[in-house]
């Protein structure tokens, strides 16, 4: 079916700036996707609740605060609890390389570190949503 991919762009954590999230939101929109933007300081519960109501294909989490090792797996776990593990979860932001294997084991499909061209993220989402 020819329909736009829907992506929730979320920005959890306590740090108060969302430039990165906005850059990726715009890039996804320009790639023809419908981006649901939920603003700053979202808890994993809020992210998952919005993802369910909006019936998104993908949750893209932008994170700078360093709490990625708890917040990202929490989102995956809550999605699973809601029987929504078919939703693709990707992360982006300042995430040290050594943390990536753990995140992938926890169910984060891919992690995009700073400097990743937006096309890479766009293509990844296009190829991996169900």
């Amino acid at each position: 079916m020819d329909r736009p991919i829907r992506v929730l762009v979320a920005k959890p954590g306590l740090d108060g700036h969302d430039r990165g999230a906005k850059v990726i939101a715009r890039a996804l929109r320009d790639a023809g996707m419908e981006v649901i933007y939920t603003g700053l300081r979202q808890t994993p519960e809020q992210i998952v609740n919005a993802a369910i109501q909006e019936d998104v294909d993908c949750v893209a989490i932008s994170i700078l605060s360093g709490a990625h090792n708890t917040l990202l797996p929490k989102v995956v776990a809550l999605l699973k609890q809601e029987n929504a593990e078919d939703i693709l979860v990707v992360g982006g932001g300042v995430i040290p390389d050594e943390d990536i294997p753990f995140l992938k084991e926890s169910g984060i499909s891919e992690v995009f570190t700073p400097g990743t061209p937006t096309e890479v993220t766009i293509n990844y989402i296009r190829e991996h949503v169900k």
């Binding site: 736009p4 715009r26 929109r29 790639a31 981006v35 933007y37 919005a50 369910i52 109501q53 809601e82």
Partner: protein, 313 residues
């Protein structure tokens, strides 16, 4: 369990999926809606429109929060413009709805206008029905007021709430033609700003010229501070009472339904014009001949209608 059963059982994922499917014109989803349509009609639908940035989402957040204290459940559909070039959209209304976003008695859904200029598509009308079947007592539909969409929203709701802001100045003159007739209740939001009283006066002055039975009330509110919101909702209820007591409620739903049926037929016929390649060839050939003045458009339309819609050879 089937999607239909899950929907009846109030499964939120099923509600969300149904909205996606009707939005994408999925045939099976409309088969489900056919079966469940008789369960709809109980929700009271409030359209909320006005210029971009007027505070429609913020106000919806506060109105819904208030309605929740009355023990009623609420659905929110927030429509934002879709880029005509890419088909993509940024749907940001949830940012302003943080007071209600975690409330299990509230279901919020963002939609791209998808070619309907910020307005209401058949997908939106169908989504309203899904939330109605789901059992929401109230449904809010937020759209950006850009000409046509304001008119569209009226055709889908029971009460239209127009959100204005101070300092629109000459803009009021420009938009009044479209706006004044369709608002059932007016909110002057951002009344913490200069000129709110003046704007209220100007709008009141224009409304005094209205010849309709119902004289829309004008309320000054400050959505961000939750000021005047209860009073505003009271006015919505007064309008509802007016509709119900005068028989205008049934009339409005009849008018809306009739309009919707006609729109759906139009949509279907236009779809039929192009749904097979031989038809597209006929359309192209006729367009070519009309463009070259070998044929007049009026005869072409008759031919098109007979050959493609009535399918005479």
């Amino acid at each position: 369990m089937t999607l239909e059963e899950r929907l009846i059982n109030g499964d939120r994922r099923a509600v969300a999926r149904m909205i996606t499917l009707v939005e994408n014109n999925d045939h099976d989803a409309f088969e489900i809606l056919k079966k469940l349509y008789h369960r709809s009609g109980n929700a009271y639908v409030i359209g909320i429109t006005g210029p971009p940035g007027a505070g429609k989402s913020t106000l919806t957040d506060k109105l819904v929060k208030h309605i929740r204290t009355l023990g009623k459940t609420v659905g929110v559909i927030a429509v934002d413009p879709t880029s005509p070039f890419t088909g993509g959209a940024i749907l940001g209304d949830r940012v302003r709805m943080s007071d209600i976003s975690m409330d299990p008695g509230v279901f919020i859904r963002s939609m791209g206008a998808r070619g309907h200029l910020g307005g209401i598509s058949q997908g939106t009308s169908a989504a309203i029905k899904v939330l109605d079947i789901y059992g929401c007592d109230y449904i809010f539909v937020e759209t950006v007021g850009v000409g046509q969409s304001e008119i569209d929203i009226v055709k889908n709701c029971d009460t239209t709430l127009m959100v204005m802001v101070p300092g629109l100045g000459d803009d009021i003159q420009a938009i009044k033609a479209g706006v004044m007739e369709i608002g059932d209740v007016f909110a002057i939001n951002k009344s913490d700003r200069d000129g709110a009283k003046r704007t209220a006066r100007e709008i009141n002055a224009m409304l005094d010229f209205s010849s309709k039975d119902w004289r829309p009330p004008v309320e000054m509110v400050i959505a961000t501070e939750n000021q005047g919101v209860d009073k505003l909702f009271e006015q919505v209820e007064v309008h509802r009472q007016y509709l119900e007591e005068t028989g205008n409620f049934q009339q409005r739903r009849f008018d809306n339904t009739k309009n919707e049926l006609i729109e759906m037929v139009k949509h279907k016929i236009v779809g039929q014009l192009m749904d097979e390649s031989y038809k597209q060839e006929i359309v192209n050939e006729l367009s070519d001949r009309v463009a070259k003045r070998m044929l007049d458009p009026y005869t072409a339309i008759d031919t098109l209608y007979d050959k493609v819609i009535k399918q005479e050879s």
